[in-house]
């Protein structure tokens, strides 16, 4: 059975400092993994996805994530936070056509 755990419900960083949002997953098969971002009162937007190609995945707005099978992790990073990065972030695992399991979300706060 699939599951996904976002290890932090809230993360605060100062503008210009690195961002790390942590995600661990469990899957019986080779999963696809996604990170989505949701700004207030908006729908979800895809940041990046891993589908068994390169383990280091680059996404939009300077975000990237590394798939580590041995650690069952897919952490999201960004070298330098911007105020516009303040949002909620969701890690998602999928190992079947219609099955997407969402984490409970991490709310990122960026301090000036």
């Amino acid at each position: 059975a699939q599951s996904v755990t976002q290890l932090d419900s809230h993360v605060s960083v100062s503008e210009g400092t690195p961002v790390l949002l942590r995600c661990n997953y469990s899957s019986s098969y080779s999963p696809s993994l996604f990170w989505y971002v949701q700004h207030p009162n908006k729908g979800l937007q895809l940041l990046l996805k891993y589908t068994s190609a390169a383990t280091l995945v680059k996404g939009i707005n300077g975000f990237e994530a590394e798939f580590k099978k041995s650690e069952t992790s897919f952490h999201l990073t960004k070298p330098s936070a911007h105020m516009s990065d303040a949002a909620e972030y969701f890690c998602v695992v999928s190992d079947a056509a219609y099955k997407y399991i969402f984490g409970t979300g991490t709310r990122l706060k960026v301090l000036a």
Partner: protein
Amino acid sequence: DVKVTQSSRYLVKRTGEKVFLECVQDMDHENMFWYRQDPGLGLRLIYFSYDVKMKEKGDIPEGYSVSREKKERFSLILESASTNQTSMYLCASSLWTSGGAEQFFGPGTRLTVL
């Protein structure tokens, strides 16, 4: 530019009313989904559809039904709204693949049931 639209951004209904939430996608996607989003719970799947007139229950289908008469349109129906259905409802669509397809989301409908 790909787009998923939802009929209302905000909706206020009374207990016992029948509520229709509509979703339209312009990407010719086979799959469409309805999720409910509540704080601390992430997104939970209510129903999905993989073809016209085809539907499958998700994790929390109780109190909801769906309709897909055309490929581009997927409707969520609350037969008799209750206060515990107050939530944010998100529609999504994706291509049919064996897995790993990106989902495209609408902006959401925030439903309040009084």
